[in-house]
């Protein structure tokens, strides 16, 4: 469903993504892991047609995202890094907008909107403007927008950040449910405990290059340990001024 062959993106002298090759099958939940600035968002932007690659090839649903941008956008749902919400629309209006734009019949849009608002505990804030929403509410709204048109592939950038544990569990269950129905999920996350529970494929990236790519069952050790070994080893420094004496 997602195929990248030697995908590369350069910004001047800086190589953000370097010769990335990966395959994600239909119905898989692929977790794309790496530290900040590793090239995750650049990769997602190339997969969703927002950024053309410098070289290499990417196919999503069998389409070239650069050449068939509009057709691809109709088939995918995206939770972007900045959520992509309009300050002047309410939570509910964002979902109605999505239904209208993706050609979902109005009655069906209303039904799906009600179900999503209920499932994500957004009913109480359905008439709140995005500008007045908490970050968690904004995240849930953008997540609901990605799901509403029933896409073939879901791209989710940090879906579990800033949401409460119950909503995170609901989101996780929803993603597992859609993947059982054949929807491919490609997500980035820093919450490794959540990734460990949900992902069927793990891809790790460091400085633009893939350093691990396997099914979740093939990990040789706990995900966190493996991540620290391959991607980034935490260094804890003692801050001597932190303590009981105050200045």
């Amino acid at each position: 469903m997602i195929s990248c062959q030697k995908l590369t993106r350069r910004f001047g002298e800086f190589t953000a993504v370097d010769q990335l090759t990966l395959e994600v099958d239909k119905g898989e939940i692929c977790a794309f892991l790496g530290p900040n600035g590793a090239g995750k968002s650049t990769t997602v932007n190339m997969m969703t047609g927002l950024l053309p690659p410098t070289s290499g090839e990417v196919r999503v649903c069998g389409l070239d995202p650069t050449a068939n941008s509009l057709e691809l956008k109709r088939r995918i749902g995206v939770l972007p890094e900045d959520l992509g919400l309009f300050d002047d629309l309410t939570v509910e209006e964002h979902l109605l907008l999505t239904g209208d734009i993706y050609g979902v019949p109005r009655a069906e849009t209303r039904a799906r909107t009600s179900q999503l608002l209920h499932a994500l505990s957004l009913e109480h804030g359905r008439r709140t403007f995005a500008a007045a929403c908490s970050h968690g509410m904004r995240k849930k709204t953008a997540f609901a927008m990605a799901l509403l048109p029933n896409p073939q592939v879901l791209f989710l950038d940090e879906p579990f950040e800033a949401v409460d544990p119950v909503t995170a569990k609901i989101m996780r269950d929803l993603l597992q449910s859609v993947s059982r129905h054949g929807v491919t999920v490609f997500l980035t996350s820093h919450i490794l405990s959540m990734v460990e529970r949900i992902a069927t494929r793990i891809v790790m990236i460091r400085k633009g290059s893939v350093v691990w790519n396997s099914s979740a069952g093939e990990l040789p050790q706990a995900l966190e340990d493996h991540y620290f070994d391959l991607v980034e080893t935490p260094v804890v420094e003692e801050l001597e001024w932190l303590g009981p004496s105050r200045s």
Binding site: D88, E93, L96, A130
Partner: protein, 335 residues
Amino acid sequence: MARPIAILRSLATAYRRDWTALQSLTGNNFFLLTVLLLQKAGTFVYLIMALVLFFPLSTDPLRKVPRSRLALWPLERREQWILRLVSPWLNPLTWILAAGAIWSAGRTISAGVWVIAGVFFAAAFLLSHIPTPGRALFWRRVPGFPGPLEQLVRKNLREILSTLDFYCAAILSLAVLAWRWFGPPLPHEALMAMTVLTVGALSSYAQCLFGLDGEGGLSRYRLLPVCGWQLLLAKDIAFLAISLMLCLPLAPLAGLGGAMLVLAVGRVPAIQHPREQTRWRFSTGGAIGNGIVQMIALAMTISSIFSISVLFLAPAILIWLGSLWWYGRDLDRRR
């Protein structure tokens, strides 16, 4: 005293930046038109602009500190009082009003004027403290437009309603409405001139159609499976609907034709040189040259439709449709 001084210093910086947003006025077609063409005769326009600006500038500077942050800071009661008493003086309007009051002491007529201004200021100052569920309620009632672009049109209408341009144009339109209702008959040409002024007051917004969408909105536009012309159409429907509504007491068809030309001429800065805008300020255009062309096209279209024939609306529509198609493709390339 160190804590209140630190807070007041930060507040002053924030307030100074807020006032620099007023420089948007200098890139506004309506202001430029008045300065260049009407000059001293444009006093009533300056008054309208000052009136429209008065309310957003009268807010309490202390509101710039988030309420939760203010509550969390370890401030003593005395320090809170200092902040409360000193912060209003960060607003230059407070100084202007105080100077006016001192100057007019003993002169009953001008003192009355200053009292009215002071009451307006105090009202706006106090109103800025009241939570405004009413505004959210009003905003939610803004109608959409039947069809797949309904929510986008609704959002765009809300954006236009949060610029001062709209309120300037609304005051002009309502003034003519009141005059036609209660005053002697207006000369024929006056309607045309007021239509030019009303659409002219809105015209700068046509140069910065995407200025209030923010990063989130622009990112969503890139993700939506719609063509560029559809995004432009949603913007245009909102602009034309507002223009038509405000021109109803004036010359509606001429106003509509003028608004279409204003949109067509404003495409280049709106799409190729987008400028971020600030809410509750005047829209600021991309370039003076474009603003002048917009105003000339506006005046010519309105005078042709109004004075010669309504058939001149047809070329205005064609030019607008052509710009929609051409710049829609341009927008697609840039998305």
